[in-house]
C-alpha cells in the first residue's frame, strides 16, 4: 500500500476531487496519484461518499481488497454499462453448466464401460441398473441469488446436488465405507 499523503503528494482521489489530501486520508493508501483512472472509474460508478461509507464499515486489513474489487467492478461497468461484471458472471455460469454436462456424460460412459468389464470378466452376475451417479454440483451457500423479477437472465444458483468425482468407484481414492478422500 502506498501512502501518497506522506510524500506531500495528493492521492488520486483528492486530486480528482480537488481537495487537500490530509494525513489519514481514507483514499490515499488505495488510490495512488499514478493511477488516476482507478479512482475516476470508482467515483463515476459508486461515488466517493459511498466508497467512504463502505470503507469505514470494513476493517483496515479488508480495505485494500474492497477497493480493488470496487475498481474492477467499476471498470467492468464503464466498459459495459448494461451488464457490468454481471455479464462475466453469466458467462462463467454457462461455462460451468456446460462443463458439468460434459462431465456427467463422461461419467456415464465410464459407468457403462465399467459394467461391461465386470460382465465380460464373468466375476459377477449382470449388475442391477447402476445407481444414479450423475455428478451434479451444489454451489456453496455463499453463491448469491439474483434479484427477483428479472427472469433469471443472469447468474443463478444451480439447484442440483453433487457427487464429487473422487468418490466414484473406479477412482483410486474411492472409500466403499463412505466419505471422500478429497485428494483429487
Amino acid at each position: 500500500m502506498s501512502s501518497s499523503s506522506s510524500y506531500n503528494s495528493p492521492c488520486a482521489a483528492c486530486k480528482f476531487l480537488r481537495r487537500k489530501c490530509i494525513p489519514g486520508c481514507i483514499f490515499a493508501p488505495y488510490f495512488p496519484p499514478e493511477e488516476p483512472q482507478k479512482f475516476a472509474n470508482v467515483h463515476k460508478i459508486f461515488g466517493a461518499s459511498n466508497v467512504t461509507k463502505l470503507l469505514n464499515e470494513l476493517l483496515p486489513h479488508q480495505r485494500e481488497d474492497a477497493v480493488n474489487s470496487l475498481a474492477y467492478e467499476a471498470e467492468a461497468r464503464v466498459r459495459d454499462p448494461v451488464y457490468g461484471c454481471v455479464g462475466a458472471i453469466s458467462f462463467l455460469q454457462r461455462q460451468v453448466e456446460r462443463l458439468q454436462k460434459e462431465l456427467d456424460a463422461a461419467n456415464a460412459d465410464l459407468i457403462r464401460f465399467a459394467c461391461n468389464d465386470i460382465q465380460a470378466a464373468g466375476q459377477l452376475p449382470p449388475p442391477a441398473a447402476p445407481q444414479a451417479v450423475a455428478s451434479t454440483h451444489m454451489v456453496p451457500a455463499q453463491q448469491p441469488r439474483p434479484a427477483g423479477g428479472w427472469g433469471g437472465r443472469f447468474y443463478q444458483t444451480p439447484s442440483f446436488p453433487v457427487i464429487p468425482y473422487s468418490s466414484m468407484p473406479w477412482n483410486d481414492n474411492y472409500n466403499p465405507h463412505g466419505g471422500v478422500d478429497g485428494s483429487i
Binding site: 482507478k38 461515488g47 464499515e57 467492478e73 462475466a88 462443463l99 448469491p144 439474483p146
Partner: protein, 158 residues
C-alpha cells in the same frame, strides 16, 4: 371503456421517489424500473451506487436496455451488500474455481475413458464425444482479458 373499479390501483410515487422523498413526475426516469411495491430494490441500489450515478448510467444506455441495466445494478448491489469486501468478484472467483475443478475432473474422466476405449479407437471416440480433450481457455471472458486473481487464487488489481 373500463369502469373505474377495473382500473388498477396505482401508487402516486415510485419506490425511488418515495425513498428520496420527492414528487414522482409522469416522466420519472426510475418509475418504470422501481415499482412502489419493491422498496428494497431501490434502497440497495441507492446504498451502493447512489441515485444520481444510477441516473447517469441509465442515461448512457438505450431505452430498451435500461431494464437489463437496472436488473444488473440491483444484482451487483445485492452481492456487494452481502459481501462488502469482494462483491461480485467473489462470485466470479468461486465460479472460476468451480470451472477449474470441472475441467480437471473432465480431463481425468476422459483419460480413464481412453484406457477403456483403447488407443486405436481414441480419436473416433473423441470425435463422437465432442473432442474437448484439452482444457479450454476458460479465462476468455468477454470484455475482461485479465481477472484479478493470480495462480494461487489471490486477489490483486490487474
Amino acid at each position: 371503456m373500463k369502469s373505474y373499479q377495473e382500473q388498477p390501483r396505482s401508487s402516486s410515487s415510485c419506490a425511488a421517489c418515495k425513498f428520496l422523498k420527492r414528487r414522482c413526475t409522469s416522466n420519472c426516469q426510475f418509475a418504470p424500473y422501481f415499482r412502489s411495491d419493491e422498496p428494497k430494490k431501490f434502497a440497495k441500489v441507492h446504498k451502493v451506487f447512489g441515485a444520481s450515478n444510477v441516473s447517469k448510467i441509465l442515461n448512457e444506455v438505450a431505452e430498451d436496455q435500461r431494464e437489463d441495466t437496472v436488473d444488473s445494478l440491483v444484482y451487483e448491489a445485492e452481492v456487494r451488500l452481502r459481501d462488502p469486501v469482494y462483491g461480485c468478484i467473489g462470485a466470479i472467483a468461486s465460479l472460476q474455481h468451480r470451472m477449474v475443478e470441472l475441467q480437471r475432473d473432465l480431463i481425468l474422466a476422459r483419460a480413464r475413458l481412453a484406457s477403456y476405449v483403447g488407443h486405436c479407437s481414441l480419436s473416433s471416440f473423441l470425435d463422437d464425444h465432442g473432442g474437448l480433450f484439452m482444457a479450454p481457455n476458460f479465462l476468455d471472458i468477454p470484455e475482461s482479458n485479465s481477472l484479478p486473481f493470480d495462480q494461487f487464487g489471490r486477489f490483486h488489481f490487474p
